[in-house]
Symmetry: C2
Subunit: 151 residues, 2 copies
Amino acid sequence: MWAMQAIGYVRSPYRETRQVPKGLGAKHEAEGILEIRAEFEDGLQDIEGFSHLFVIWAFDRAEGYSLVGTPPSDDRPHGVFATRSPRRPNPIGLTVVELVSREGRMLRVRGIDMLDETPILDIKPYLSSVAPERLRRGWLEEAEGRAAGKR
Amino acid sequence: MWAMQAIGYVRSPYRETRQVPKGLGAKHEAEGILEIRAEFEDGLQDIEGFSHLFVIWAFDRAEGYSLVGTPPSDDRPHGVFATRSPRRPNPIGLTVVELVSREGRMLRVRGIDMLDETPILDIKPYLSSVAPERLRRGWLEEAEGRAAGKR
């Protein structure tokens, strides 16, 4: 077992889960702040050179977990490790954000889908992408296809 | 504080840190197995439809942390949140792997950079990439530029 602490908190326009865009075609354009605790500010040195960051955070308002569930983007159940469900064995969230600017220990970012006051566990530089032509997105592509067929 | 448990373990050809390719131009082509614990196998339903996965894991052999350090890919120090250093406030690792095949609770994957027996904390589907033309890679690009200039 590993004990994880908050290195900072998310400042987000979303205060409740239902405010966060979900489901097929949801866009995450919201801006917010990653406020890093003063004791960890030195760890941000040179982060402003990166355009995108991985933010690893805690689903602190999720309770328990379900191994199988039906996500907002589909009407069929899938395993938790094939979804971004908050109800996971370890309550870890992962979001790729665009770094807009840094002021001291405040990182202004775009693309957040976390609630206000979400605890941040780690930040890492986003270094490379998988080429789009090599990416398969499983049940999500199928759900998108069915949704397109209904339109 | 959040307590995290292992949902499984990595089976890797790397038994020691020095065996893992590091530094500029390091390629991670190694194949290995993500062996998920039997009690979590149901959470893998439909994961085989995804070509790439995020693996979130624990640096279980790292001790303590440094807020600033010099990575293998540069001769200059950078903040820990701008690097993939194992010595982080929360010992969390993140690797994007390609899913080659699934047999029950064993996921054969390509692109691992973890040591054998590394505890896995979470697995998520890789759903989208940042367009390469929008990606800036900060100090790493500068280090690559200096290395190219020396050749």
